[in-house]
């Protein structure tokens, strides 16, 4: 376990550094000039040159990179070209919105999806099992912003029950007000996330229900509940945990859409603005923190899987997944198929790309 943790941590750091370099270069390759956002119609040639010098756009890319990276080494994400605000504190300010939004939606989605997915699998031959499955099918096909628009129209504009958007000026000073602002966004995200997770839970439970060990356990005299408790849940939870990890990461990063619907000052809206303005320090900062969060979530999901499934503790490093899983298992999410987030395992609906 210790060597696993060390290896996993090294992987995390190396990936983060590599991702930062790639990001930096890619941003500079994209067309656009950060100085333009500072200038207005009427600016003279000298003013344009001076604005470019101000943001450092006239320096060679290598020099810009060295600057940025040496700041980063001192845990300083730099200063926005456009607003003049330090990037780190602003990201922290935005996380106050995005992190609760993501976590609340995640918890709500899991609470809905686990029982629903279980029933949909256990009663898959009853009409309500089929109905639950159909509803989840509907849920993964609905664009998240559309749910948001419909909820705003109904609950905010028509019924005037909840705010249509925005976030309290004093953040969480008044938790009730903050929760009210987050209620509709959280529900919006949770609906889509729950639909997707339901399908994985259902699939995993179906696998367990059809498994030999459950059957033999029953044959040896265990009640269904006992057998399920002793073997089933643990086995079913392994693939579901990795999916939850991915869902959490994608929701965190994909929050930009729901933040846009609800005018929330979160990380996503910061990214959207800074991209439009070519504000490189801001973009780099947001993407750096996002990458970090994604890697951490992946790490936590892997570790949780290992704790749940002893078979995985024996296998090699965490980042090489299904490949080492070996032949034979050609279908579906199943126990012990992998230690990595297995978005792309054959035959499963894959939420790993977009959740929006």
């Amino acid at each position: 376990m210790v060597s696993y943790l060390i290896r996993r941590f090294a992987f995390l750091v190396v990936t983060l550094v590599l991702a930062s370099i790639v990001l930096f270069v890619l941003l500079r390759l994209l067309p656009g000039d950060p100085a333009n956002a500072l200038l207005s119609v009427g600016a003279t040639k000298e003013q344009i040159a001076s604005a470019r010098a101000d943001v450092g756009a006239d320096l060679p890319v290598i020099e810009q990179f060295v600057r940025w990276f040496s700041q980063l080494a001192r845990f300083d994400l730099g200063t926005s070209y456009i607003s003049g605000l330090p990037v780190g504190p602003e990201i922290a300010q935005r996380l106050v919105v995005t992190v609760p939004l993501t976590l609340l939606a995640f918890v709500l989605a899991v609470i809905i999806a686990v029982p629903v997915g279980f029933v949909a699998a256990y009663k898959s031959h009853r009409w309500y099992g089929v109905a639950l499955s159909a509803v989840s099918q509907l849920g993964i096909a609905v664009p998240v912003f559309w749910i948001g628009v419909l909820l705003v129209t109904f609950f905010a504009l028509r019924l005037q029950l909840l705010p249509a958007g925005g976030f309290p000026q004093d953040d969480w000073q008044d938790p009730a007000a903050a929760l009210r602002s987050l209620a509709l966004p959280v529900i919006t995200v949770a609906i889509v996330m729950a639909a997707s997770v339901t399908r994985y839970v259902r699939s995993a439970v179906l696998d367990v229900l059809g498994s030999d060990y459950l059957r033999s356990s029953r044959a040896l005299g265990a009640s269904f509940a006992e057998a399920m408790w002793r073997h089933g849940l643990r086995n079913a939870s392994v693939p579901v945990i990795s999916i939850l990890g991915i869902e959490l990461a994608t929701t965190f990063l994909g929050a930009v859409v729901v933040e846009s619907v609800f005018a929330l000052p979160g990380l996503g809206s910061m990214l959207l603005t800074s991209i439009a303005q070519h504000d490189y320090p801001d973009i780099q900062g947001v993407l750096f923190v996002s990458t970090f969060a994604v890697l951490i979530v992946g790490f936590l999901a892997d570790t949780a899987q290992r704790l749940v499934d002893p078979r995985l503790r024996a296998s090699v490093s965490g980042n090489r997944g299904g490949g080492s899983g070996g032949g034979g298992r050609r279908r579906g999410v199943g126990p012990a198929s992998t230690a990595v987030p297995v978005a792309a395992l054959p035959g499963t609906t894959d939420p790993g790309v977009v959740r929006s």
């Binding site: 992987f11 990936t15 590599l18 890619l26 994209l30 067309p31 656009g32 898959s124 031959h125 159909a134 099918q137 509907l138 993964i140 096909a141 609905v142 664009p143 998240v144 912003f145 559309w146 628009v149 129209t153 504009l157 179906l206 994608t250 990063l253 994909g254 930009v256 859409v257 846009s260 990214l271 959207l272 991209i275 439009a276 973009i283 996002s290 990458t291 994604v294 992946g298 980042n319 090489r320 490949g323 899983g325 070996g326 050609r330 279908r331 579906g332 990595v340 987030p341 978005a343 792309a344 395992l345 054959p346 035959g347 609906t349 894959d350 790993g352 790309v353 977009v354 959740r355 929006s356």
Partner: protein, 271 residues
């Protein structure tokens, strides 16, 4: 067996509706797309079955063009993502251990980033156009496809008879064409069908964020974004594109499920 074919049939009908609309839009449209003669935000009438948008353009016309665009986005990005992803996946599966490890790690990180984020960067920088959106979505998709291909290909390669074929001197192009592709193809196709739906949703989100191609050649996401400001006055523009999106994506997903079940009889009722 019956339920499986029902899934496939329902999916095919839903996709068929959208496909037919798109095909018709090439030959016939109720009005020229940029004709603003309909009067601002007119309610549905005999002349304008779905009413008009805020400039007086016929909404039905735009929705029909939207169907065309949605299919273009799906097909275009699946083509890019599929070709690139399968090639990359096969390459890693055949590569040396260290290269394979490195590329897999990169893919893991790439996959964690939603398509939307990648697309936002590309599109915002290069200007909103359908082409750049398709390209960006296809690129992001290729990481997922590559990883799937790699896993599947490695499994095939580890089978005994492949080892035998290797020992007897079959070179890698032969291996790929004779053994790997035929074996992994069914699973990859099912996954690509699912990616199709995800690509359509990603483009819709992109358009909703104002990074799509603007009307009159608008995607459903752009129409919805334009119409949401008047949802209390003229709700159709904000509701209809959403319904169509759901119809298409559910249709594609059902087709994928149906195909998978047909291809794999052990997966019963895994809708």
């Amino acid at each position: 067996m019956r339920r499986r074919s029902i899934t496939l049939a329902i999916g095919a009908v839903l996709v068929g509706i959208i496909l037919a609309t798109a095909v018709v839009s090439f030959f016939w449209l109720p009005y020229p797309p940029s004709d603003i003669g309909g009067g601002r935000l007119a309610p549905p009438s005999a002349a304008h079955l779905a009413g008009t948008d805020k400039l007086g353009r016929d909404l039905l016309t735009q929705l029909m063009i939207g169907a065309r665009i949605a299919l273009q986005v799906g097909a275009g990005s699946v083509a890019i993502g599929g070709v690139l992803g399968i090639a990359l996946g096969l390459a890693t599966a055949f590569a040396q251990r260290w290269l394979d490890d490195g590329l897999s790690a990169v893919l893991d990180v790439l996959i964690a980033f939603p398509t939307l984020l990648v697309a936002m960067l590309v599109v915002a920088a290069s200007g909103a156009s359908l082409g750049s959106a398709i390209l960006a979505i296809g690129l992001a998709m290729s990481a997922v496809v590559a990883r799937l291909t790699r896993i599947l290909a490695k499994r095939v390669l580890s089978l005994d008879y492949i080892t035998a074929a290797r020992v007897s001197g079959t070179r890698w192009p032969g291996l790929i064409l004779q053994h790997v592709l035929p074996n992994i193809w069914p699973t990859v196709v099912v996954n690509l069908a699912l990616q199709f739906g995800l690509a359509v949703l990603a483009e819709a989100s992109l358009s909703y964020l104002g990074l799509g191609s603007p009307p009159p050649n608008a995607s459903w996401g752009s129409i919805l974004q334009e119409a949401q400001g008047t949802v209390l006055v003229a709700p159709i523009g904000a509701v209809a594109p959403g319904v169509l999106l759901v119809v298409l994506v559910i249709g594609v997903n059902l087709v994928a499920d149906g195909l998978r079940d047909v291809g794999d009889p052990t997966r019963r009722g895994r809708a």
